[in-house]
Structure formats: C-alpha cells, structure tokens
Symmetry: C2
Subunit: 348 residues, 2 copies
C-alpha cells in the first residue's frame, strides 16, 4: 500500500507487523479498522472487537498531567476504538506501570478517573496488571461485541457518500493549546466520551467509520489512503467546530482551521453515509436526540479540500501528519511548522 | 479475604480494584484465576478468557536484556495465563513503548522473539499500538477460548487431591542467578513455553490450576490462601527440580530449595487432581507423550511443608512473598534475605 506508506506512522506499524501472519479468524486487514475484528471460533456467528492503547507520550509531554484525566482518557481512547467498529463495550483490562514515588492520593485519582469513565460507558474493568517503573504508563485493552455479524471498518466509502461527524471538532486541540502552548489560558474542560450509543446507529447505515483520536485532518487523510478517494468539506465548516475551542484559538491568534489539523483529537467518530440512506439515518439519530454534524462529501480526487481564505484549498495532509515524527515531539516546533504552512496557504 | 491481604501484592491489587464493580458477565472473582473468564453475551454457551501483562521491571533490572527474549517472554507470560484457565489461545495484542534510541536491529529482534513465540503457541498477533517513551516497556493482552463452558480456576482443590506440575521447576530462578547475581556463570538457556497443549488435558481432570510465573512457593502460597488448605511436597522433591538449574545453584553455593522459593518462575502449571481421577488423567497425559511431575498433596493445615535438612519444615511463604516489595527491587538484598531465612531453617 504505497499511499499508506507515505505516512511515517503507517510505515512504523507496517514494519513492526511485517513478520506476523494474520489470523484466519481476523475479519480485518491491518489499518482497516480502529479495533481488531475477531471471530472467536470459525463458526462464531458474530465477532468480538478488541483493541490495545497506551497512554505514555501524553503523560511525558505534560499534555495529561491530572491523574483523574489520565485514568479517564485511558478508558475513553480504548472504547472510542470499540465504538468506531460499531460494537458495544464488554469491558477493559488495564496494565499500570506505577513509579514508586506516586502518592496514594494520586493513584486513587487515576482509579477514580478509570471508574467514572467505565461507568459513563456502561461497562466494566475486567482485570489488570500492575508493575513499578520509572515513568507512569497506562495500557488498556478493551473488548466489544457486535451483533448479527455487523461491524464498521474504515473502508468502503463511495464517491458522493456524505461525510458526518458525531459532534463538533476541535476540543482536543484547544485543550492541547491550553496545556502545552499557553498555560495562562483559562482552564479548558476536556473529558471526551466514547461515542458508543451513536455507534450503534451509525453501524446500520455507514459505509466507513474512524475515530478522530488524531484530529479531523489526520483521520480524513487515513480514510483517503484506505479508500482511494478524497473529501470536500462544507463551505461553512467553521460551524462544525466547537465554539469554546474556537475562542481558545482566537485568544491565541491561531488560525481556525488548525482546530482540525492539530493531532490531539476529540474522539468523535467520522463516518460516511450513502445518499440514499441519509434520511433514514437522520431519523434514527433523532430517535436518541442526537444531531449528527454534516462535514462534507466523498469526492473522487484523493485530496482533502476545504474553503479557506476565499478559495478552495487542497490540504497537504501528508505534510501535516508527518510533522510530529519529523519534529520528534517538539511541541512548539510543531506549532511553528503548522503556522508556517498556514502562512503559505494564505500567501499562495 | 484477610489471608489474601497478608501479601503485599494482593493488597495492592485489591486496593487498585476497590472502586470497580464486577461485570455480571465475568465468571471469576478477583484472584480466582490466572486470566479473566468472560461471557461475551449473557447467553453465550462458552466464555472467552483474557489477560493483560506487561514486561517492565524485568527489563529495568537487566533480568531480560536480550531483545529476542523480551519479545518471547511477552508472549509466553500472557499465553501461560491463558493456559492456566484451560483455554486455547486465540491471539495476542501488543503495545510497545519504544525509546527513540533503539536501533532498528534491536526492534527487529524483539519482533522476531514475538513472532517465534506466537508460532510456538500456534497463535497470532492480532493487533497493537506503538508509542515512544523513555524506557522500553511491552504490554500484551492475550485472548483464549474454552469449549463447552469448561475452564480452570485457582480455586476448588480438596484435601488429598494430588499436586502436579507440568514440568520440573527452577529454570526461571537459575536464569535469574546467571543474570543478576553471578554474570560469570555460563549462559543458561531460558525460553519457557506456555503449557497450552497440556492445559487442554488438565482442564478435564484438575480441581485447580495456576501458573508458576512467580515460582513454585509463591504459587502454592496463593493457592493456600484461596483454598483454605495447604500442601505437602513429596519427600524427594529434589527430583522435581530441573537438573541444569540445580547445577547453577550448586556452582553458586545456593541452597537447592531456593529454586522453588525465588520469584522468577518457570511458567509451568501447578494443578491438583482428585485421587479418583488420577489414573485416567495419567493415561490422557501419556497420549500426548507428556509425563506430569508429581509434586505432593493437598493437606488440611494451611501451610506449605517439605522435607528439608532432615525434618519436615513449614515454609514461611508469607515472609518470602513479601520480600520483593519490602526490599524494593534490591536483588542482592533479596538473595541475602532468602539465605538468612535458609540459615534460620538449618539452625532451627
């Protein structure tokens, strides 16, 4: 998959997995879904979905410095992947590497965050492991079940499908600005909840689905590479970003569209609905008082287009996605590079 | 469970889990099994088993310093827990925290160890996650399936049940001596394999089962606390330890019985067979050319007894199990404390 390989992260994953054979019970190829879709037996009528996700870099950079949030996020990043496959949560297993100098109060706060998050998801901690170590690192492994052999993958969207999001975007990146760029910025609440309830409706209508754990542009970039298609955002995409997040960016003189480009996502689901199913889908959404956010359309060209500075721009999402690896975790350098690319777009 | 709480590790686990509710789909209580036994749906006919285990302390102390072994062990520690529940392996998910300074050759060796170990287990890597971080840490989450609602737990052994092991003990502790105590000792091969094949036979006969990931004495100690019983080892327990491991201990003037007391185990399964099932069990074992090692018997008193220095001794397994936490990872101090306890036993 040469297009996938242009992205450093995909290349690293492909290289790590290069020796491994796929299980004949696995229903997805590598990169094809947010969680692995596995039949437990050859004749299982419906598969389980399972994912593993660690929180380490976010702790090391100071992005997550509150123990309650660390516990909360551990659960949500994992269940968000489960949601993106259209599965219901069964539970989560947690491995904690705890430095010896952590206070018992700090550890209790981690556990409270975990507990509140699993309760919010209507799910359970099933088990765990604990070790001591130099740095705090949490790893979760979440299980989901999907019924009647129905699940969502990142693949199979078609030209003219309509691109939706479960909610407004930008809170993840606004939070990151308040934590890593301008700590004078007033507190910004960031407790994303995995979109599990919505996922069960999306599952019945969508042609593909992926969560925005890495932000909207990175998610669309990956979908572009997997589906050999592109996306055009609605002219008024500004109405699809979160208002509070927009204020943070305005206060810090940051361009609005970077709310979608930054790679600390908001854990919404992006998904595509075939036009003929749209009205039925919206009816179902209404039944749970949910208003999906229309983000754009699938297009034939393999680009991500949006209206910016008075014209239609194709975003160089490859450049944007590769920045974090290129800059090796240098947060300020990363923002400078994004701003430089923004200046290039303005002047072009 | 006051008896369980006398052990620091149990107390830490209980405290971490104290806030969490158990899932109604979970078929085991905390501590009751090596892996969690979960029904995916209320009406599932057979549960899956799932476990999470990280390798971090072993890397930090230098016990595992070979990348191939690190990968191998990650898979085996997880599948050993699956085996201890009498399940077949479905696959494993792996999260890798990789420091930036690791060479690509080092990483390839980790992946080779992982790949060879999953092949040895007849299983698959199902997916993973990768992050950068200051220290190398690997976490695995293994899945197993058990058929016809049959699985093994650590509980339910009865007085006079016969204690067996899948193999000889001591290789884990002999390896640890060559790595951490006397590096002049010649290379000692340590590539334990999860006892998956044997587990499927044990499942049909055993009253309880647990792996020796923490060594024989610690395993028996936990079974004692869970079952309100004790164990008496056969008089000739020396014949149940591995010969090569025995040589390492002799070369280093270490008491033989510490091959069972040290807490770097050999990943055998310890299990108990009701006397009336023993002969049928041994026949089944023979059918796969496996000779189980008879280790002793279940007794009523809540002690671990063995013949040592010419008399029957009750081992203070609580003291032994709590040493690693008490000494906070000081390996030499740990060995000194074990030797001191051995001197006490000799002189008593």
């Amino acid at each position: 998959m040469p297009m996938l390989d242009s992205i450093t992260e995909n290349r690293i994953i492909n290289s790590l997995a290069s020796k491994f054979c796929r299980s004949p019970l696995q229903q997805n190829l590598i990169h094809e879904s947010d969680a692995e879709i596995i039949k437990i037996r050859k004749n299982s009528e419906s598969p389980i979905t399972v994912t593993i996700d660690s929180i380490s870099e976010e702790i090391e950079t100071g992005l997550y410095d509150d123990p309650y949030l660390i516990g909360w996020m551990l659960v949500m990043v994992n269940f968000s992947d489960i949601a993106a496959t259209g599965a219901e949560p069964v539970g989560i297993l947690i491995s904690e590497i705890l430095p010896d100098n952590l206070s018992s109060e700090y550890i209790e706060n981690i556990q409270s965050g975990i507990n509140d998050a699993v309760n919010k998801c209507g799910s359970y901690v099933l088990g765990g492991d604990t070790n001591s170590g130099k740095n705090l690192i949490l790893t979760g492994c979440a299980l989901g079940r999907s019924s009647q052999n129905k699940y969502l993958k990142r693949i199979s969207c078609q030209k003219e499908d309509i691109l939706y999001s479960t909610g407004c975007s930008g809170r993840g990146n606004a939070y990151a600005v308040t934590k890593l760029i301008n700590r004078n910025e007033s507190q910004f609440s960031f407790y994303p909840a995995a979109r599990l309830k919505e996922a069960l409706i999306i599952r019945d209508y969508a042609s593909c689905c992926m969560d925005t754990s890495d932000g909207v542009i990175s998610t669309l970039d990956q979908l572009t590479r997997l589906n050999n298609c592109g996306f055009e955002l609605v002219d008024e995409w500004i109405k699809t970003v979160d208002e509070e997040a927009l204020s943070v960016f305005k206060n810090n003189n940051l361009p609005d569209w970077l709310l979608m480009a930054g790679q600390h996502g908001e854990f919404e689901l992006l998904f595509t609905i075939p036009p003929e199913k749209e009205s039925e889908f919206l009816n179902s959404a209404r039944s749970i008082n949910w208003v999906p956010v229309k983000l754009g359309n699938v297009i034939e060209s393999k680009v991500i287009r949006l209206k910016l500075y008075g014209r239609i721009v194709s975003i160089d999402s490859e450049l944007i996605r590769n920045l974090p690896h290129q800059l090796n975790g240098d947060v300020k350098g990363y923002l400078q590079a994004l701003l430089e690319y923004d200046r290039f777009l303005r002047s072009d």
